[in-house]
């Protein structure tokens, strides 16, 4: 497909600068990864409102809480593994529980981190953050959406977790679109089955749907950027319309998108579903696209997984 690719991290950095110009009370924090997360772009523009605390993720989250309690809107960034894993208790006790105005924007979510390997490939963050009361969780699907989401969380009071990926992503939405918090979006209609995906897996799911079309299946593809609160209606409607749902995520199939969708289905409209993604194992080193192929999470892999699932369901 003729997609334009753009770095979501750069979109984040650019949006921070815009916000910094509009509002005096926005401060940005990082823990020695600012050249990677792109918060350095804000730091260059607004050195007095940028706190790069060094290799101290836990300290960063605590300081962010103190800044927020004193009236600042705080964006705190690191890699997903360190922002949510290393600093989990600080996020829980000092940000989520007091419901403070801290936006945790983490880059390098998922196995598509690539060569750095399992230690850096965060596949549990959506679960960790969704499990926290008061925390709202968003994983934008492209760089245009990153811009909208960053603007949205800046103006909404209270804590958010925003998960970005390392690699460039194809822009599937236009710059003009509105961000609808808590709403999924049908990216491609279909009646035989539904794929619900998030982040980098949305584009691969669209490509998989093209492969499946050649196999005679008409697949609906839904983008679920907001995983908490999740869009119940769009899931139930897909269940009723298509009778089979598969989730695809660059995350463990436990506690992420798949689990959230399963909860909605079981409570509202139980049908067969299948969870695809990292199947409860740590990743490994490799180029990000090679890894997606390795774990069956590229277009071909997703199509194959869906065919296997459909064979079972439509028996």
């Amino acid at each position: 497909m003729n997609w334009e690719y753009e770095s979501p991290r750069k979109a984040y950095g650019e949006t921070l600068i815009e916000l910094g110009k509009e509002r005096e009370d926005i401060v940005v924090m990082d823990a020695d990864l600012s050249t990677s997360t792109k918060t350095a772009m804000f730091g260059k523009e607004f050195p007095d409102r940028f706190f790069n605390v060094g290799l101290q993720e836990q300290n960063m989250m605590g300081i962010a809480a103190g800044l927020a309690r004193s009236g600042k809107i705080v964006f705190a960034s690191s890699f997903a593994v360190f922002a949510t894993g290393r600093a989990y208790d600080q996020v829980r006790q000092s940000i989520a529980y007091p419901k403070l105005n801290v936006k945790i924007v983490a880059t390098h979510g998922g196995v598509t981190v690539g060569e750095d390997g399992a230690s850096h490939q965060m596949i549990e963050d959506l679960g960790l953050m969704s499990g926290l009361p008061n925390m709202r969780v968003i994983a934008p699907l492209d760089s245009n959406e990153v811009r909208r989401v960053i603007r949205f969380v800046a103006k909404e009071d209270g804590p958010f977790y925003v998960r970005l990926t390392r690699t460039a992503l194809p822009n599937l939405t236009s710059g003009e679109d509105e961000f609808e918090f808590g709403k999924g979006r049908v990216m491609r209609d279909g009646s035989d089955a539904t794929i619900i995906a998030l982040g980098i897996e949305v584009s691969y799911s669209l490509l998989a749907a093209e492969i499946l079309k050649k196999e005679g299946y008409d697949i609906r593809v839904i983008n679920m950027s907001t995983i908490k609160p999740i869009d119940k209606d769009i899931i139930v409607k897909a269940a009723k319309d298509t009778g089979a749902i598969m989730t695809v995520e660059d995350h463990n199939i436990y506690n992420g998108l798949g689990s959230r969708v399963a909860e909605v289905l079981v409570e509202n409209y139980p049908i067969r579903m299948h969870r695809h993604g990292m199947k409860d194992r740590f990743g490994r080193s490799g180029k990000w696209n090679v890894l997606l192929e390795h774990y069956g999470m590229d277009d071909k892999g997703i199509a194959k997984e869906m065919l296997g699932f459909l064979k079972e369901v439509k028996k």
């Binding site: 990864l33 600012s34 050249t35 060094g54 101290q56 360190f82 894993g85 060569e115 750095d116 230690s119």
Partner: protein, 281 residues
């Protein structure tokens, strides 16, 4: 002070040079990795694996072996090079570093023969080292435990929790080495967190402190000797180093912390400079 055989010193220098060459080759081929901190740690790794440590490459899990934790796990290229040259696995495998089908993971992993601990998330290795040192005392074994830390890494609070505990427990079988290259990922350490007076900090935490030039193999050998003779408390060696040591354009800059040589020309230049360095040994 006992004298050290000059031939031995030369040999260790050559090994350190080989580690640097391998690191550059591995990282360039993978188009991914961390040259700066690999090059600064090469001399320390050479002395540890080819002089100081008691290991058996044929039996990597030998219960009496000395332990090593590369707490600054991103220097994996240099670490794997040392392990391969020491005989833990074939040197040709080094050129599969970071590939999807390779066991040579981007950061140290127990998949790799000779690796004692998974690392990569900074600030945790000294704790694991304490566990190994405590177990050694419990089991009445005389093995020693070495932990290599980055200077940016020691900004993590976990390191200082471990520092207090190691001293409290009088772990004289534990040696921490800080690769004091004065640079972390984003910038110079002193522009981010004031680490100095570093020696005094460790001393205040109850450690024996030895400051050395971390590129002088004789000084590294002597410091490790001193550590072995120190009883009743752990030793930290503050190894003053140069980030990117041996490749001029990588020296003293954060730019090549996590970036391979940027093109064929830079790659060739790195190898040429290391070759010249070798001829001087």
């Amino acid at each position: 002070m006992s004298s050290i055989d000059p031939e031995k010193v030369k040999e260790l220098k050559r090994i350190a040079n080989d580690i640097r060459v391998w690191s550059i080759k591995m990282i360039y081929r993978a188009q991914s990795g961390h040259p700066g901190g690999a090059l600064s740690a090469a001399d320390i790794l050479a002395v540890l694996y080819f002089h100081e440590m008691r290991v058996d490459p044929k039996n990597p899990e030998w219960p009496d072996r000395d332990r090593f934790v590369l707490s600054k796990g991103h220097a994996s290229a240099a670490y794997y090079a040392a392990l391969a040259m020491r005989g833990f696995f074939p040197e040709e495998d080094l050129l599969t570093f970071r590939d999807v089908n390779s066991y040579l993971q981007g950061h140290p992993s127990l998949m790799v023969p000779g690796v004692d601990m998974c690392t990569g998330s900074l600030g945790q290795g000294l704790s694991a080292g304490i566990g190994m040192a405590l177990a050694g005392k419990m089991d009445k074994k005389d093995y020693r435990v070495y932990v290599l830390l980055g200077d940016g890494e020691i900004e993590e609070g976990n390191v200082w929790e471990a520092a207090m505990t190691a001293a409290t427990r009088k772990l004289d079988n534990l040696v921490a080495i800080v690769d004091r290259n004065k640079i972390q990922l984003d910038d110079f350490t002193d522009r981010m967190v004031e680490l100095d007076p570093l020696e005094e900090k460790w001393r205040g935490f109850g450690w024996r402190v030895i400051s050395i030039n971390g590129h002088d193999v004789t000084q590294i050998i002597r410091a490790l000797d001193e550590a072995r003779k120190t009883k009743g408390r752990p030793t930290v060696i503050i190894a003053h180093t140069v980030k990117g040591k041996g490749v001029s354009y990588m020296e003293n800059t954060a730019k090549y912390h996590g970036k391979p040589p940027q093109n064929e020309e830079e790659y060739e230049r790195a190898l040429k400079e290391l070759e010249e360095e070798r001829r001087k040994i």
